[in-house]
Point group: C2
Chain length 366, copies 2
């Protein structure tokens, strides 16, 4: 194989495919980027959960393919002195990377052992802007569970009904839901995508509202196609939790509050939290006032916030981190919080329920 590319084109493609490189695999081939130069040049990575393939702009002098250690290859490309880069391999997979007066020799691997990306039949296709998809992932993926023993909770629900895409995560303490309208109606879809995968994938989406992503589904895989890139992820098998049964429209107390003010205040309260002695943030809600209190071995913090309250007074405790996570991804400046009693969950949601953040309280002695 011999190809000639621009450094910047190589770097861009490397940054995309790096997201699916295995970091601690027993198979060294999974730590590689496969460069394939036949009709066009592509880079491919696959960590057996997530696979990414992207096109690289460049000239093919001799056709061929090689697998190169992703870490070494990406660092070499990043530090090359010149714009024009030549990558050349021989029959024993020795690879020479030349740029300006600099010449690197590294050993590559045969691509025969590299696991091919799963083939996904492009029948069911859904179209959504990169911007929207990137946003709804970031706005929900934080509340997946990290506990691999409960596989279902480590995933994110993608559910399409008519022209509505709903994404949802939950970890046993909270539920995060986002709904967006699609440009047309689709057949129903309900799949669970591994959350870690989505996290990595979200980072390579451009966030451009004009550029679209095509999503294809099969029973076992989800495929995202955008720009010159395709991303394939395994799905988590099984029935997802019945979310709708966990939600309720009842409330006893309804608060309207300035989001930034509340977020900053809760962030301050976490200064008092000791790693070894986690204490709840206690909210005491009375007419037009919310008192925030936290006490730990470090000390104590007290702050009042102006609120607009409908309904009963209430004292309730929360893990402040869960409130912070939700508030950080809400764009609205005025938010509405619905509360039931000191043992019931609180919901932060807008009128159309385009977002719902449900958080369970911590038991406190009132």
């Amino acid at each position: 194989m011999k190809i000639i590319c621009k450094k910047i084109d190589l770097s861009e493609s490397i940054n995309i495919v790096l997201k699916a490189v295995s970091s601690k695999s027993t198979m060294s081939i999974l730590e590689c980027i496969v460069i394939n130069a036949t009709d066009s040049i592509t880079m491919t990575t696959n960590n057996m959960e997530l696979g990414i393939q992207t096109k690289v702009v460049g000239n093919i002098v001799d056709q061929g393919a090689i697998a190169l250690n992703a870490k070494i290859f990406s660092e070499i490309i990043r530090k090359l002195p010149d714009d024009i880069v030549t990558i050349e391999t021989n029959e024993s997979y020795a690879t020479t990377i030349t740029s300006g007066k600099a010449k690197f020799n590294i050993s590559g691997q045969n691509i025969a052992e590299f696991p091919e990306l799963p083939q996904v039949a492009k029948t069911k296709c859904v179209s959504i802007s990169q911007h929207t998809l990137k946003e709804i992932i970031q706005q929900t993926v934080f509340s997946i569970s990290q506990d691999e023993n409960n596989k279902m909770m480590t995933g994110e629900l993608f559910e399409i009904e008519k022209n509505i895409l709903k994404v949802c995560t939950l970890d046993g303490h909270r539920i995060s839901i986002r709904k967006v309208e699609l440009s047309k109606e689709y057949d129903p879809v309900k799949v669970i995508v591994p959350g870690k995968t989505l996290n990595e994938f979200g980072r390579i989406l451009s966030g451009d509202a004009e550029k679209m992503v095509s999503i294809y589904f099969t029973d076992k895989h989800i495929l995202f196609e955008f720009d010159e890139t395709m991303v394939v992820s395994r799905l988590i098998e099984g029935q997802y939790y019945k979310i709708d049964k966990m939600l309720s429209n009842d409330f006893e107390t309804k608060l309207t509050v300035n989001k930034s003010e509340l977020l900053e205040c809760i962030e301050r309260s976490t200064l008092i939290i000791n790693e070894n002695d986690k204490r709840p943030l206690i909210l005491k809600i009375t007419d037009n006032n919310m008192e925030l209190n936290i006490v730990s071995s470090i000390g104590q913090m007290h702050e009042d916030i102006l609120v607009n309250k409908d309904g009963a007074d209430l004292t309730i405790g929360f893990n402040p981190k869960f409130l912070i996570d939700a508030l950080k991804v809400i764009d609205d400046e005025q938010i509405v919080i619905y509360l039931f009693n000191s043992k019931g969950p609180c919901s932060i949601k807008d009128k159309d329920e385009s977002y719902i953040y449900l958080i369970l309280p911590v038991n406190i002695i009132v």
Copy 2:
């Protein structure tokens, strides 16, 4: 004690004194910032090696003093909601920090146990700009030894003769020397300042060429005074190495080379270095060309650089890190490297010897 200060003034002072807070001490008082409000407000820290005291702008309502855990105090101040901050303590050292509607209660400590900063008689005073002092520290301190068993090598020599200040560090593999002219002549001084101390101290200097630092010396301590801050450090006792005997003006090969080009090329070569298999960078110097080669288990790198050579051809090996460290702190674009033979040190220096970087080679089989 009760004081009222602006958040920004508190933050600035905290950032200065934090540099002398002990991070892992068995004495919890050394992890504190002492706030003293008598005639003026000061903050003081002392890790027994380095001590810092700085003035804080603010109003004293009630005189007094308190020691507060530096980490907790600095984080609270950083996240306060309002510009105006009130700090109030009671007889049992309970401390209330109020700002806007936020109120923090933390426990402080009696300052009686806090070790006072050493008194340094202000007899021998040397004056130098903050900019110059900051620069010469940064340009030399990297080559102190980290090995605490060889105390002398962990220090930096400060030597004044007439109107010349010379600073020098060495670690057994290399020597770094900087000389600057002072505005007038002084009595001779020769002290060894702990390198770690200088590193921390260098970071709080403003780098402003118009602002001066006054330096005072005693047998045991060095005191730096600038702006509203004083920094006291212990000295390392003993006779420093006879540097002049290690330097020589002889050379067999003299190279003139573009510094940035050489630096970038050596940085590229380090990509091939394996943590567990350190190999030297080999320079092969012939007429007007320097060939750089490095070979490791990862692969091999080769690059040519244009040089201007006087004298004999030479092949010599170096630890590339040592070359990089020196090249990074040299401002000149064209540098001159003096070499003797493949076993002798190389010196990078300018005509006036305002800087000298001497580096020992690594043995290679030529």
